[in-house]
């Protein structure tokens, strides 16, 4: 097991290098002088020379790539032109929201998608099956930004005045102040802007839970419901479809017949024998749909006014803040690679047949 993970880690190094090289190459392909792009109207000749020297832009491209790699490993992702502070700090401020949103959306997708797929396969060709598959097919065809807007309209306008009304934007109600959890715990620390403390306390819901602020937790959760559903619907549909087809295939396998012949109850057969085998392709699909989840987060955050990586990327695109675009592209790709790595490892736990090589 250990060697497998190690091998898998080593195998992902070239991919990571490739990602870094690709994003590096993309910025070098940017039209125009990087100095002028970064300094804009302040770009005098001397300033540019200094700039080029500072960032090593006057040196050979291989050396430049080496510098880029060194900076990346040291956590220096450059400076945002728009915010005028390091991209790393921007990530510490913004990533927590995205992380929270993505985890909740994935949780929603799994918690709803798998049971739906299960029911659908169990009652194969029944009206439940057909209904579920219609929903799932529509779900995978929906633009996430449209679904988000429609949900916002429905829950904020149509259901106004009912108990089901939900806030269509922001991550907490105006005026809601939640203490950072470390203050609530009485820890006497003043964390740096880019520390782990700051990172965790930037996760609204987690922070509220840690700080024991029940009202804050409820409020944060209410704000997250719509983004969560909007973002989670596509993976939910994919998971439901995959669970169904995988389970249908497994239910036709010999070992399922064996389990039945043993005298196992049907529920036991489906949940204990078929389900675990059927989950293998579903786990792969979950890993893959995390990619679409990350791109979806970009759109969802923009719509629901959440201050996450996605909306920062959106602002950066509109503000032509290329450093941020590049840094975030790398970060998202790296996260994606790590997730796929974790999925592979999880796969080994689930499927004993997978051996080294």
């Amino acid at each position: 097991m250990g060697t497998f993970i190690l091998r898998r880690l080593i195998l992902s190094i070239p991919v990571l290098l490739g990602i870094l090289f690709l994003t590096f190459a993309l910025t070098r392909l940017l039209p125009g002088d990087p100095c002028r792009a970064a300094l804009q109207e302040k770009a005098t000749e001397e300033a540019c020379n200094a700039f080029n020297q500072r960032y090593g832009l006057d040196r050979p491209i291989t050396v430049q790539f080496k510098i880029y790699l060194q900076d990346f490993v040291q956590g220096d992702l450059g400076t945002s032109i728009k915010y005028n502070y390091s991209v790393m700090r921007l990530i510490v401020e913004r990533l927590p929201t995205t992380l929270e949103l993505s985890i909740m959306a994935m949780f929603f997708a799994v918690a709803v998608g798998i049971p739906l797929g299960l029911l659908s396969a169990y009652y194969h060709n029944s009206s439940i099956d057909i209904g579920t598959m219609v929903i799932a097919n529509i779900g995978v065809s929906m633009p996430v930004f449209w679904l988000g807007l429609m949900l916002a309209y429905f829950f904020a306008v149509v259901l106004k005045g009912t108990p089901f009304v939900l806030p269509p934007s922001g991550s907490q109600s105006p005026g809601m102040q939640i203490q950072p959890f470390y203050e609530a715990w009485g820890l006497n620390i003043e964390p740096a802007r880019s520390s782990v403390w700051a990172f965790i306390s930037n996760m609204t819901i987690t922070n509220a839970a840690l700080a024991g602020d029940w009202a804050g937790f409820k409020d944060g959760f209410r704000h997250m419901i719509l983004p969560m559903v909007a973002l989670g619907t596509i993976p939910m549909s994919i998971i439901a479809r995959m669970t169904r087809s995988s389970l249908l295939e497994v239910l036709g396998q010999n070992y399922v017949k064996t389990a039945r012949a043993k005298g196992a109850y049907e529920r036991n057969v489906v949940l204990n024998h078929a389900f675990r085998n059927a989950m293998l392709p579903v786990v792969t699909i979950i890993g893959l749909s995390l990619g679409s989840l990350l791109s979806g987060a970009l759109l969802t955050e923009t719509i629901f006014g959440l201050a996450g990586v996605g909306s920062a990327l959106y602002d950066a695109i509109n503000g032509r803040d290329y450093t941020v675009v590049q840094a975030f592209t790398v970060i998202i790709a790296v996260i994606f690679v790590i997730i796929n790595l974790l999925v592979d490892v999880l796969y080994v736990f689930l499927d004993p047949r997978i051996r080294l090589n």
Partner: protein, 330 residues
Amino acid sequence: MTDEPMLKVENLRTYFFTRGGTVKAVDGVNFEVKRGQVLALVGESGCGKSMTALSIIQLVDKPGKIVEGTVIFDGENLLERNRSQMTEIRGKRISMIFQEPRSSLNPVIRVGKQLDEVLKLHYEDMDKHERRQRVIQLLKDVGIPDPERRANNYPHEMSGGMAQRVMIAMGIACEPELLIADEPTTALDVTIQAQVLDLIRKLRDEMQMAVIFITHDMGVVAEMADDVAVMYAGTIVEHAAVGSLFEEPMHPYTQGLIASIPILGEFKDRLEVIPGTVPSLIDMPPGCRFASRCKARVEHNLEKCLHEEPELLEVREGHQVRCWLYEENA
């Protein structure tokens, strides 16, 4: 030992309702098995022998459905039991072993645990430790060396023969009264085959189980069975004690099957092969189901075979056959 049959199947019909039409996989099958006796169900693949077995324990998949008949097991019609009542029978009093041992074991669960599950399902009073003991004992009984270690293996870590032994251990775990073995040796090497057959025979003797042994291999039949039922296209065409059948096979189909066995030391120019294939089970010809492939029909020039289906006739004591050739002998 009573003479009362352990299992009595009467007029069993299992049809598959597909888009292309109704497939009559099992179409009026009758037989009985006594305690300690081995009944062999013989026939080509697709003749309905496996489906008959699955119908007995009611594991017919959709769109299949048992449309008629009774399955009397120990004096009780199983078809009157509902789904949850059937689970009490399956694995405990009737157990079944399948053809492909490796694909019949769940690939993601350790074999010990899979064995343990049968015990857990049917012996509620057994505790974990007792079950573990029993699992090891069972593995030892079916001749698996080093059972403590093997119990922790996954199915893919075992050979086919080993896996089939595990399946058999699973089948006998609750000391069933009836064991259905669906081609348990087909996927195995010849030497392993013999071992597995020996094992089943030994267990039958020890536990006095009734056994339904499904195979298409007449050689295995000769070795294992007390009674033989030959199936063709969903019906039994000949039913006799094993000695009677091999001495004097009556149905042209049975004759063909026996003729196709290669016999050691005997030289044949060519093995007999039954021409043609099993007719489509959807559009069954009106007459005898074997008529289109029957040499005897041509030789005796029997027109009747094409128009009228023969009954199963008791031609001799304990020897029944479904063929117009023996019409007057009955």
